[in-house]
Symmetry: C2
Subunit: 217 residues, 2 copies
């Protein structure tokens, strides 16, 4: 089976991805979304966690074979990043989106070897902003960022543009297309919900404001 | 070699433990301390990270052989917890000291299997408060906490009393005694500094207030 589709099916099976069309989730940004993705749930299932780890390692070998250091993006990327680094026997550190407020005020935790070729392990790319903040933090420590890998990607244009502007490569193990394919194969969603999800992907802000307007009628 | 002593030496070697007697570190609580421990640095050294992981797994097999779930205490315990869970092929989750402020407001990230026998992986025990907050969070989800394991322990009475009061077992891979032994063997500290460290361990609050009084003269 196609690995991306297999991972998408597992995300739906264990409800790491949840959908709700009648009462959409509210993201931190205020955006209403019919989909909520919590990839951390995969950590609780050793076989799925290993499937995802193996897919990350395949992607690293394909796209970033010269990698010297693995860095997890805090907090959701820390655990997967650590098991990847341990399996590959590479140095590991993790990167906070902002510097810690007390103690040593570290933004990068662990020792980042100077001048090292680093890749960042993220769980999810939505706007790409948190990944790119972590990329900046690594660059400020004079290390090279080969790119960012995530489990899931909503495939928003805003993320694609932001990564291009930052001249940063990124790859994801699966995306919204895979999720829609998986949902169809699993009879997980009604066809009208799949249409709604596609409309949301095409213009999430419009979908969100339409939902809010409809619910206020 | 004694594993505790070996780990203590590695912590000093890579400066995961730093000492400074002329300008002691200021902890989050305001306490001045001649010692600062950042075990996250061990993540960047695959051989040391594996030594520590193996010592955790030995401790788990000795003290908590019925464990069903590994939980890391956020953020410093997340990475070590994850590689332990992966090596033991056990479910994994991590626990924040406080619930997350946005999104799903989770305190436990990942799926904590109900009624499961859980152990918590911590990096460091000082007062024990952050560990015990995580213990409470796991218990509130109706899981059993077999105990807490940490890399390092300052061996403060306040921590020992707090764990006893919470009826929670705890073990550490090494402690301040091991560190002092390692420092002596490595000629890492002057004998007057070792005496100062022992005075600090005996009464850290007194040591701290004496230091502040002296430095204001």
């Amino acid at each position: 089976m196609n690995t991306s589709l297999e991972i998408a099916k597992k995300l739906l099976e264990i409800e790491a991805v949840k959908v709700n069309f009648s009462n959409p989730f509210t993201w931190t940004s205020g955006l209403r979304s019919p989909i909520y993705c919590d990839n951390r749930k995969t950590l609780s299932y050793p076989a799925i966690r290993t499937l995802i780890m193996d897919a990350y390692i395949d992607a690293i070998k394909t796209h970033f074979s010269t990698v010297e250091v693995i860095a997890g993006v805090a907090t959701a990327g820390i655990a997967q990043g650590a098991i990847i680094a341990q399996t590959m026997q590479l140095p590991y550190c993790y990167v906070r989106p902002e510097p810690k407020k007390h103690g040593m005020k570290n933004q990068i935790e662990g020792y980042l070897i100077p001048q090292s070729k680093t890749i960042l392990i993220e769980d999810l790319i939505s706007t790409g902003m948190s990944s790119l903040k972590a990329v900046e933090a690594v660059k400020e420590e004079n290390s090279e960022v080969l790119g960012v890998l995530s489990i899931f990607n909503y495939d928003f244009d805003i993320a694609k543009n932001a990564f291009e502007e930052a001249d940063c490569k990124f790859y994801s193990l699966c995306n919204l297309d895979d999720l829609i394919k998986a949902a169809i194969e699993m009879n997980y969603m009604k066809s009208e919900d799949i249409q709604s999800l596609e409309a949301w992907r095409a213009d999430a802000a419009l979908w969100s404001s339409n939902f809010i307007a409809m619910s206020q009628q």
